[in-house]
């Protein structure tokens, strides 16, 4: 059952990821990216990370992608003009890409020869309680720093949009 679920959602993730890269319309890419994020949330659940799966759906598939879709609609972004790709990009691009994925896969299989399969329910530390405990004890300083980072990001976004309004 676990393996079947992994195969289904991994296939959805890869096909939607290809769709993100291949679609000419930005809105189609954005909706494919939502599909990737949803299937990744399912894989997080299979790995026992409930909290991260929930945050993935709420923050990524919810907030961030709504922001993307809103900007795409606001700018009325249409079909992308095809780039005059250079000869090197069109001939070497896909082989180099396959080489990158192949090399990464080879190194991964080399580093993790462990044939023990992933079992759902084996890792029980992924709940909100455990993650929250780690965040507020060992990772307290980085956590507080992210609050500063988010504040700066909000200020930056407001300043950029503000200049916009005055023009």
């Amino acid at each position: 059952m676990d393996g079947l679920l992994f195969l289904i959602f991994a296939a959805i993730a890869v096909v939607s990821g290809l769709n993100v890269v291949l679609q000419r319309q930005p809105i189609a890419s954005a909706l494919s990216l939502v599909a990737v994020m949803g299937s990744l949330a399912m894989l997080y659940l299979l790995l026992g990370a409930q909290f991260i799966a929930a945050v993935q759906v709420i923050v990524y598939a919810g907030a961030v992608m709504v922001l993307f879709v809103m900007v795409i609609m606001l700018l009325n972004a249409g079909r992308e003009r095809p780039a005059g790709a250079s000869l090197m990009a069109s001939t070497l691009g896909l082989p180099l890409l396959a080489g990158l994925a192949g090399a990464l896969g080879y190194v991964i299989f080399l580093a993790f020869p462990d044939p023990q399969p992933v079992r759902f329910g084996q890792f029980r530390e992924g709940g909100a309680a455990q993650v929250g405990y780690a965040l507020f004890t060992r990772y307290l300083l980085p956590f507080e720093l992210t609050s500063v980072l988010v504040l700066i990001a909000i200020l930056g976004a407001v300043v950029l949009a503000w200049r916009e309004v005055r023009k």
Partner: protein, 104 residues
């Protein structure tokens, strides 16, 4: 297909495939918004790797790192989309080829 699940390496390979797709999208596409979405795809692939390794090591640290990646990605999306809005107002175009100089 065994009922017990798949090896951990499959999850990591899926992360590698998604990362390669994101890198390809970033390099091949000419639309700023689509390039930005390719970056998000790469961040998601890294998150999958973090979560898979948290499972492997049986520790919560990988999940905390994935959480931080999500926070940074959200902040980056807000600022990046504001920059894209400004670029579009100045250039009336979303093509990356039109954005060659940082002046004006």
């Amino acid at each position: 297909m065994s009922a017990a699940g798949v090896p951990l390496a499959w999850y990591l390979v899926l992360g590698a495939i998604l990362f390669a797709l994101g890198a390809a999208g970033f390099l091949f596409r000419r639309n700023i918004i689509t390039m930005f979405m390719a970056i998000e795809l790469m961040l998601n692939a890294v998150n999958l790797t973090f979560v898979a390794l948290a499972y492997y090591l049986g520790q919560v640290d990988g999940l905390v790192l994935a959480f931080f990646v999500m926070v940074v990605a959200a902040a980056e999306a807000a600022v990046g989309l504001a920059i894209i809005l400004t670029v579009f107002r100045n250039r009336a175009s979303l093509g990356i080829d039109e954005v060659q100089s940082l002046r004006n």
